[in-house]
């Protein structure tokens, strides 16, 4: 319970710090008080003055942050400057799409990565190792955006790209862990006593590697979310990755900072959950 409270406190602290950092960046960004509409030659002096007043900031950084936090607590995330829609509505519309892509990508990446790692360790044949290592190595060297482009060219479903981004990391980490577990003395004894491969894997190798694999689960969520930006942009998936990109190109900083805060919250929760599960797994094993 104490560990859970500590994790919640950490999440809140990081979010407050992140919020402050975000608000500071928005407040200090060059051009915050300037609107492109001011360049419109059809506008008269009064209209330009009205535009300038609407964007003017007349409070200090702490009060700006306090107002920002106050609005955040009341569920008001502001309005997107480029899309002219409430940020909350935009996030509610686009988050399910990203969660679907990330969920599918994680499932695919983990299934593929873990299956190949198990096959490599259990078969103990050099060609399985070579083929799977080469596949993971090549995928590690291709940027997510290029993979997405290749999928667009091949007219393949873009959501699968996230799986190919997660796969090599899971494969490499899992293979190293499983190899280490498979070389432990009690596993070697089990082999020499003639136990079946499946039984050895299930009862002797996986339980030793499981806690560390759980730690990777949290990290892979962050990885998949980061890769969602190029994948959603290039495969035209209307998720928050695409929204973040549009916000970046339009310098819609309020929207961008809110997206970043939300993604940070999701990754923090994922990391804390995997740490807590890992801790309880370790305690259970001990």
């Amino acid at each position: 319970m104490r560990k859970l409270i500590r994790h919640v406190a950490r999440i809140v602290t990081v979010l407050l710090l992140g919020g402050f950092l975000g608000a500071t960046l928005v407040r200090l960004a060059p051009g915050l008080t300037v609107d492109e509409q001011e360049l419109d030659s059809r506008l008269n002096h009064e209209s330009i003055q009205a535009l300038r007043q609407a964007r003017a900031i007349d409070d200090s950084l702490p009060s700006f942050y306090f107002r920002y936090l106050n609005r955040l607590v009341h569920g008001d995330l502001g309005t997107s400057r480029t899309l002219q829609q409430p940020v909350r509505q935009l996030l509610a519309e686009r988050l399910p799409e990203t969660l679907k892509s990330v969920g599918l990508g994680l499932a695919l990446g983990w299934t593929l990565g873990l299956a190949l790692a198990i096959a490599t360790v259990m078969s103990r044949s050099w060609y399985v190792d070579l083929v799977s290592s080469l596949l993971a190595g090549v995928l590690l060297c291709i940027p997510a955006a290029v993979l997405a482009l290749l999928f667009v060219i091949a007219r393949a479903p873009g959501r699968l790209v996230l799986g190919l981004i997660v796969f090599p990391k899971v494969f490499r980490y899992a293979r190293n862990l499983l190899e280490r577990s498979a070389s432990l003395p009690h596993v070697l004894t089990a082999w020499s006593k003639g136990l079946g491969g499946f039984r050895i894997l299930l009862w002797h190798i996986l339980p030793v590697a499981a806690p560390q694999l759980l730690a990777l689960a949290g990290v892979s969520v962050s990885l998949a979310f980061a890769a969602a930006i190029p994948v959603e942009v290039l495969c035209d998936l209307p998720g928050i990755g695409q929204l973040a990109w549009k916000a970046a190109l339009g310098r819609d900083l309020e929207l961008l900072v809110n997206i970043m805060m939300m993604v940070t919250l999701i990754t923090l929760v994922a990391n804390s959950t995997s740490e807590l599960v890992e801790h309880s797994a370790r305690t259970g094993t001990a």
Partner: protein, 268 residues
């Protein structure tokens, strides 16, 4: 795997040399337009053909590789120096200084890398000259990529501070700065080298992602991001396989960096 490592280093040296000598090796300048030859197929004059604007693809590939191969190590150096400064200071000071610095590190590590990058990139002006865009892109990578390395360095510095030779140095009257400069930082050098080498392919990949999204190096200056972005115009009907040359070179360079890293360095 020693032969693979030697081959990887050899390839990196050869590619770097070709890029550094781009002025002599490239058939034309990266921005010179052969206006009567847009989308030309490979020929003796243009070994990789020309792009839609009539610019020689091989020249752009050489100059673009030079940008990435020169500036990714510079960004890695910056991030390693920042990591050394923050990590060593935190590990050496201990107590609340370490807690505060590591909380900041945690904050940076919690923010998804690409989201953080595009947010900070969007804060800076987008319509800038190509040279400014190069500096902004790689400076951002250097300034934001230190957190992971700082955590590792802090842990190592903390262990070093508890070692006997530091105790002896303290007993001999060495002060804080002298201890840090003469005893702790030199012993952190191997881990700093490892972090430096590990960061280079990461930054090359990130610049490529940013470039493809239009948030990296601005045209007409080529970089791997903008070169790989040209794959968008690839069509199965008018197949031009030579368009994949930048991707193949990219995979060769990044995998060579991975192979060149020793196993011990990766585990560090």
């Amino acid at each position: 795997m020693k032969w693979a490592r030697i081959a990887a280093i050899g390839l990196l040296v050869a590619i770097s040399a070709a890029c550094l000598l781009a002025e002599f090796v490239a058939p034309a300048s990266y921005m010179h337009q052969f206006r009567d030859l847009p989308d030309a197929t490979p020929s003796r004059q243009h070994p990789l053909g020309t792009d839609g604007l009539g610019r020689d693809r091989l020249s752009r590939l050489l100059y673009g590789t030079r940008v990435s191969l020169l500036l990714a190590p510079a960004a890695a150096l910056l991030s390693s120096l920042l990591a050394a400064l923050i990590g060593a200071a935190a590990g050496f000071a201990g107590g609340w200084v370490e807690r505060c610095m590591m909380a900041t590190t945690d904050l940076f590590l919690s923010l998804p890398w690409l989201f953080l990058l595009i947010t900070v990139r969007a804060l800076l002006p987008l319509n800038v000259s190509p040279i400014t865009s190069v500096v902004i892109t790689f400076a951002l990578l250097g300034c934001l990529g230190w957190a992971g390395a700082a955590r590792v360095i802090c842990a190592d510095a903390r262990t070093l501070c508890r070692s006997d030779f530091i105790l002896l140095a303290r007993a001999s009257g060495s002060g804080g700065l002298r201890l840090l400069w003469r005893h702790i930082l030199p012993n952190l050098r191997p881990i700093l080298y490892a972090q430096f080498w590990i960061s280079i392919p990461v930054f090359i990949l990130t610049e490529a992602n940013l470039g493809i999204l239009g948030l990296g190096v601005a045209e007409p200056l080529p970089s791997w991001g903008s070169l790989l972005r040209e794959l968008e115009s690839f069509s199965a009907f008018s197949a031009q396989p030579w368009q994949f040359a930048p991707l193949i070179l990219f995979i060769v360079v990044v995998s060579s960096f991975h192979l060149a890293l020793q196993k011990q360095e990766l585990s560090a």
